[in-house]
């Protein structure tokens, strides 16, 4: 399948500061003049230094931000950032939070009900799933959040930094699950990471961002090599 899920044409995103009294000049263009496309089933990596606009790209692709210039078209229906535990309510039980968080990640009610047991099982929470989330440790929260996000199964998966969460064992496990998912031909994904080995392993193509503009796009091996040469002090 060679269908393009995303097409970006000279896209820019601008953060604005609004002032009540005067016309504001504090506009920050976080992204400028981006043009690329993402095919179905492909895994694209995004690299660049802090503040280069990596997270902004993910938010743009997730539909959280709209572009202020250029044109973006997206034919994917469900796009989610793998955000662990977004909108968890501490006073609700793990099970109730599955319903809340799952819906926020774009799942249907019926879908959540069928997947609930499998989510609980993957999280390894056991009986604790019926306890309020405020009694959870950070690791338990992360495991529950990950299991929901994993089951949400979006058409396009957006990953910021880490693949794995929780303690060493669950980290290895969750990282393996994500890798498996990314390796499948159906899953489209965009990964933001500072880990060049990870990017090289998972991605076919890489976008190198520098202060909001695209410095380079192309074969993962090639772009990351140039990036490292550029970043390393001589």
């Amino acid at each position: 399948m060679n269908e393009n899920l995303y097409e970006l044409n000279a896209v820019g995103v601008c953060y604005r500061h609004y002032s009540l009294w005067r016309k504001s000049k504090h506009n920050i263009w976080a992204l400028r003049d981006l043009s690329f496309s993402i095919r179905r089933g492909e895994t694209v990596g995004i690299i660049g230094r802090n503040g280069a606009g990596k997270t902004t790209i993910l938010r743009l692709l997730a539909g959280i931000l709209e572009c202020d210039s250029g044109r973006l078209s997206c034919s994917a229906k469900v796009v989610t950032m793998l955000s662990i535990g977004a909108g968890f309510d501490n006073y609700l039980t793990g099970r109730e939070n599955i319903g809340l968080n799952g819906r926020l990640l774009g799942m249907h009610g019926a879908q959540i009900r069928t997947l609930e047991n499998s989510i609980v099982e993957m999280s390894g929470l056991g009986g604790a799933v019926d306890m309020p989330v405020r009694t959870y440790s950070t690791g338990m929260r992360a495991r529950l959040g990950f299991s929901i996000a994993y089951h949400a199964d979006p058409e396009v998966l957006l990953l910021d930094e880490n693949l794995g969460v929780g303690d060493a064992v669950f980290q290895a496990e969750s990282s393996r699950l994500i890798r498996e998912k990314l390796a499948s031909r159906q899953q489209t994904a965009v990964i933001v990471s500072h880990s060049i080995p990870l990017i090289r392993e998972m991605c076919s193509r890489v976008i190198w961002l520098e202060s909001g503009t695209m410095k380079k796009i192309g074969d993962a091996e090639e772009v990351t090599r140039e990036y490292l040469d550029h970043v390393r002090p001589r």
Binding site: R16, I64, L65, S69, G87, R103
Partner: protein, 278 residues
């Protein structure tokens, strides 16, 4: 935001197509399913936050009743048949509007971190707050109806009009909630001013007095306040067994629909730029 920015926002053509990404949340059914789920979840969470939990939804309006009852019944000696029922009907109707509007004010602002993580329609936050307060109102209404049956005038056929009045208030609450929630992300100070505005509005809404006990020249002014008209309709159908006043119903339904539409438009327009504001 200056006036120029405001006008520019509505007139300039902007980048296209961003809204298409993750569009699925925008579908109407899914939005309302999530809103209702979130409402139930919030009610459950709230009931677990204190020892008395659920009981507070009943105790709170009764405490307000005690306070106003002492001040206006015993000290100011307001003359009114079934004064406590009269007062209570005003209190529950007012508390719904006032509490949901004030909580809505900061709802979108405080959920910005969530809006940066998942694609979510910002209307979700004010709408679920209005629904939470709606449920609490229904509990209060139940108490009122039971009390009216025991100590008050009983029921007349006019009680059948009650759902229409409740619907009008729901629209009014949602409209006001959507409007105020769209303002505070740009102007957080508005939440402070709103407290004062609501205080003033309470005294102008006839929570503890009859509109027709006012001097004649003030009455048309009060009639412009939809909350005052609303409380009057509740009392007409519950306590006086009279049909609601047609002009009054037109005022509250009309202002409710108008507010909801305006609020929806504002939040849809501004919701897109909240996430980009710094």
């Amino acid at each position: 935001m200056s006036l120029q920015d405001f006008i520019a926002y509505f007139t300039h053509s902007r980048g296209e197509g961003g809204a298409a990404a993750g569009r699925r949340i925008a579908s109407g059914y899914q939005f309302w399913e999530l809103a209702v789920f979130r409402t139930v979840a919030e009610l459950r969470a709230e009931s677990k936050r204190s020892y008395a939990g659920l009981l507070w939804w009943i105790i709170r309006p009764l405490l307000s009743l005690a306070v106003y009852g002492v001040v206006f019944g015993l000290i100011f000696k307001v003359k009114q048949e079934h004064f406590l029922l009269f007062l209570f009907s005003g209190i529950i109707g007012w508390e719904w509007f006032s509490s949901s509007t004030q909580r809505c004010a900061t709802s979108v602002l405080s959920n910005r971190p969530l809006m940066l993580l998942v694609k979510v329609n910002p209307m979700l936050f004010p709408v679920s707050i209005c629904l939470v307060d709606f449920v609490k109102f229904l509990l209060g209404l139940l108490i009122l109806l039971v009390a009216a049956a025991i100590w008050g005038p009983g029921f007349g056929w006019s009680i059948l009009m009650l759902p229409v009045i409740i619907l009008a208030e729901l629209l009014l609450c949602m409209g006001a909630g959507l409007i105020v929630s769209s303002i505070t992300p740009f102007l957080p100070d508005f939440a402070m001013i709103l407290t004062t505005i609501m205080q003033l509005l309470m005294f102008l809404s006839g929570v503890f007095y009859r509109i027709d006990s006012l001097p004649a020249r003030l009455r048309p002014l009060i009639a412009l306040n939809p909350v005052a008209v609303l409380l009057e309709q509740y009392r007409l159908v519950i306590l006086e067994h009279a049909m609601p006043d047609l002009r009054g119903m037109a005022v509250i339904l009309g202002s409710g629909i108008a507010a909801a539409l305006v609020g929806r438009l504002l939040l849809a327009k501004f919701g897109r730029i909240y996430t980009k504001r710094w």
